[in-house]
Amino acid sequence: MTFTNGQELITLCKEKNLKIYEVMIQKEMELTGLSEAEIKNKLKISLDIMKQAVERGLTEDIKSVSGLIGGDAKKITERNDKTRSVCGSLMSKAISRSMAVLEVNAAMGRIVAAPTAGSSGIVPGTLLTIAEEFSLDDERLVEGLLTASGVGFIISRNATVAGAEGGCQAETGSAAAMAAAAIVEMMGGTPEAALHGAAACLKNVLGLVCDPIAGLVEAPCEKRNAIGAANALISAEMALAGVESIIPFDEVVDAMYRVGRTLPFELRESAIGGLAGTPTGQRIKKEILGE
C-alpha cells in the first residue's frame, strides 16, 4: 500500500474503495510492522498532547521565552464568550486554539509538530473545534490525523514543509492543507474532495514568506497560524460543497515548491527580510538577542 503523489493516492482509494485515512493506516502498518491498534494508540497520545496544549494556551498565563508573545489566544476566547464574534463562534474558537498552541510552543511547552513546530497550531486548532461543534469522538479525530498525515506525506515527499526551504507557504500552507483534507474526510467527504480542499489551502497562500522577528518561532508565526486555521476551514467548506481546484493537487504542490525555491534567501527563515527586516523588527531583535 504505497503511493508517491495525490493522483496515485486517489487511484488507490478508488480501486480498494478506501478513504485516505484507511490507506494511511495500512501504509504505516507495512512501514513499521506495528498493528492498527498500536498505531492508533500512538496517535491518541499525540491527540492528548494537542488537547493539553490548547487547554494550557487558553487557560494559563503564557509568556514566550523571549517575552514577545503570549496571552493573545485568551483575549480572543474572552471576546467570543462575551460578545458575538465577527467571524462566527466556530471560526473564533479555531483561531484562538491555533494561537494557543503556538503560544505554548513559544513558551517551551509540549506540542506535536504538525508538520512543523512553527505551524503546530493549525491542525489541532481546527480539528478539535470541528470535533466539538459536530460532536465527533476521538476515533474520528484519530482518523483525521491519519488523513492529515497523508497530505503532509505527499508534500514532504514531493516538495517541502520547511520554512527555510519554501517559506511560510510551505509551513502554514501545508498545515492548512493537511487540516482541510482531514476535516473533509471527518465530515464525510470523498478522498478527491479532501485533495481539492488541500489544493485550495496551498493556492490561497502561494508565495507567503517566512520572516520571523529575531528568527524566533513567535511573530508573525502565531497570527499566521490563525490565518492558517481560517484557510483550512474555508477550503474544507468549499471542497465539501463540491468546489473543485482547477489546478490538480499535485501540480499545486509542485508550483508551491518552485515558488519556494524562487524566494530569496532573505525571505526563507533567515530573519533578514520581510517583517524581520522592518525598523521595529530589527529593534526587537536587538532587545532580545543583544548586538
Partner: protein, 223 residues
C-alpha cells in the same frame, strides 16, 4: 526517495519552540548522556553556526542540557534544566565556536567530564525536523542517527570481533538493519555501530561485553 512514517509528519511530539533548535538539540544531548551512561560531572557545549547565533532565543541551551540530564525531546522538565542541573551540582557552560568548514550549521561539540575525571567528546548536528546525526565520538569519525535501536561498541581493532558480536545478536534473534566499523588507526581503538530493528536487552549487552577486546557497549535509542 525517502518514505515517511505518519509520526514524522504529525510529529515529533516535542517541547517547543523549534524542531531543529530545541527537539534536535535535546536528542544530541541525550545521545551524549547515554554514551556517558548518565555519569556527567561537567559538560561544555561548543556551539557552531546557527546554533551559536540563535541558541538563546530557541532554548537550544536548555534543550542540550536537558538531554544531558536524560530528558527526551517531549519532556517538560527541559524548560527548567538549568535549575535542575544546578540542583544536581552538574557544571555546564556554552561557548560559541567555529568548529570548522563543511559542518552542518546546527552542529555542537559536547565535551564531558565524568566523576572519575575521564573525558569524552561527541560531535553531532541537528539536521532538521528534530532529526540528528552523530559524526564523531572520542576522535573517531563515524555516523549514526539514533532513529534505530543502536549498539555502539568500542573495541580494539583485532580480527574476529565483528563475527562474535553478530553471532550473539543472531542468538538473541536481533535483526541488523545497518552496520559499520570505524577505527582511528590500524590496530587502535575502533567502533562498531549496529542499527537494529528490535529492542535491545541487558542480557545481550552482558554477552557482548564478555567478548575479548570489547571495551564497552552502549545502547542508544531515541523515541
Amino acid at each position: 526517495m525517502k518514505d515517511f512514517s505518519i509520526f514524522e509528519i504529525v510529529g515529533p511530539n516535542m517541547i517547543g519552540p523549534s524542531s531543529s533548535h530545541t527537539a534536535g538539540a535535546c536528542k544530541l544531548g541525550f545521545v551524549a548522556h547515554k554514551l556517558a551512561k548518565g555519569d556527567v560531572e561537567a559538560v561544555t557545549f561548543l556551539l557552531h553556526g546557527s546554533f551559536a547565533k540563535t541558541y538563546k532565543g530557541h532554548g537550544t541551551d536548555k534543550a542540550l542540557l536537558g538531554g544531558i540530564l536524560g530528558f527526551e525531546a517531549d519532556d517538560e522538565r527541559i524548560r527548567d534544566s538549568f535549575e535542575l542541573a544546578d540542583a544536581k551540582g552538574l557544571k555546564y557552560q556554552f561557548i560559541e565556536a567555529d568548529l570548522g568548514d563543511n559542518l552542518h550549521p546546527n552542529t555542537v561539540r559536547i565535551n564531558i567530564t565524568k566523576s572519575n575525571q575521564e573525558e569524552m567528546t561527541v560531535l553531532g548536528a541537528s539536521i532538521g525536523g528534530g532529526n540528528i546525526k552523530i559524526t564523531e565520538i572520542d576522535g573517531v569519525k563515524l555516523m549514526f542517527t539514533g532513529e534505530y535501536s543502536t549498539l555502539i561498541i568500542p573495541h580494539d581493532d583485532k580480527p574476529g570481533i565483528v563475527g562474535r558480536v553478530t553471532s550473539i545478536l543472531g542468538e538473541h534473534e536481533i535483526n541488523i538493519a545497518f552496520m559499520k566499523v570505524y577505527r582511528h588507526h590500524k590496530g587502535k581503538n575502533a567502533f562498531m555501530i549496529i542499527e537494529t530493528d528490535s529492542e535491545l536487552n541487558r542480557e545481550m549487552v552482558e554477552d557482548i561485553k564478555g567478548i575479548d577486546y570489547v571495551t564497552n557497549v552502549f545502547i542508544v535509542s531515541i523515541k
